[in-house]
Symmetry: C2
DNA sequence: GTGCGATATATCACTTTGATATATATCATT
DNA sequence: AATGATATATATCAAAGTGATATATCGCAC
């Protein structure tokens, strides 16, 4: 596997659940894991190509009836080993870039109304996302007996816990700015 | 300014507080804002060069007594306007990549001990960082009358609020995994 | 039948990272 | 005063990732 390519692990992880096309992988990244990870076509397709060369994934016999191309990928034994090695590796980088906080930190050059507005924008987005996370949580609680769902549930709980913390901060921050 | 270069705003923000060298900028990124932003020399130096060409920053007359090179940058009027325009722009991208959560989501392919270990590693780091954040908070509370410090304080409060949420999640997650 | 959104792969310019190279300054130890 | 370690300081590069765009087909509503 490439030295520093995180997208490889995301792809391997998703393929460990089921066979997928590049497009399917993008859809799953944008739904299930979007609260803590991002990924674009521009990294997915080249990665799939190189991972195939490296023997981490392989093309499944495609049941193409028509002329439309569609490549369904499957994880290999080597790919599964790579995924497990990564899971057992102690180092994990949590890379956070909050543009909202940059705007807080540098807000002093403008009127306080600007900072207030920026907190309001952040709060609105957080409320919307939190609503969605709670909806996921409720649905997951119906199927929590299955192993895979427990792991999904853990990430949703993480989202809820942090998003509620964001809202508490919004309240405190607003109060501070308004004296 | 370059279309999509966030580092420009970080540099302009820091220079709005005081004149700095590229090396100083890196130090400030690694200390004051490291909890919510990162930046490397490989982006800082090229950005400074292009921003100088674009008239956003300028070299201050350097008081070089010896032969050692040292370039001190200063924000220009245009640079200040660019910073203010960004602060007033409603869109802000908060880009989060938690490798720890990826390992939670894909943890199902390994024994639960692996997931437990990964939560423990995360928790240990969070406890250390939280201690530091609380230390910053105490020190800041002594100088909160000054404008700039209020904005710094807001970001520290954010860090404390979210890191405490991380710890609550660790407890819940651990309990869930152990049934 | 035609317009539109979803499916599907691919590529590219630009941004950022993380590592490395180069050189000087400062300071403690020998 | 020589040595070595650490901090200061700028610069560059391969590799990774983003966001946009190009291309084409499929399925469905009107």
């Amino acid at each position: 596997m490439a030295k520093d390519r995180k997208i490889d692990l995301v792809i391997l992880g998703l393929l460990s659940h089921e066979d997928l096309t590049g497009y399917d992988i993008k859809k799953q990244i944008d739904s299930a894991i979007s609260f803590f990870w991002k990924g674009s076509f521009g990294s997915i397709y080249p990665a799939l190509g190189e991972m195939e060369k490296g023997g981490l994934v392989k093309r499944r016999k495609s049941g193409n009836t028509g002329g439309r191309e569609k490549i369904i990928y499957q994880i290999t034994k080597t790919g599964m080993d790579t995924l497990k090695t990564w899971l057992n590796d102690e180092k994990a980088t949590n890379d956070l870039k909050y543009e909202t906080l940059l705007k807080m930190y540098f807000g002093g050059v403008e009127d306080r109304n600007v900072t207030i507005r920026n907190i309001e924008i952040f709060e609105k987005q957080v409320r919307e996302d939190l609503k969605l996370l709670k909806f996921y949580k409720e649905n997951l609680e119906k199927v929590l007996d299955q192993e895979t769902h427990v792991h999904y549930y853990l990430t949703v709980l993480f989202g809820i816990e942090t998003y509620e913390a964001y809202l508490r901060w919004c309240k405190k921050a607003m109060k501070m700015i308004l004296q």
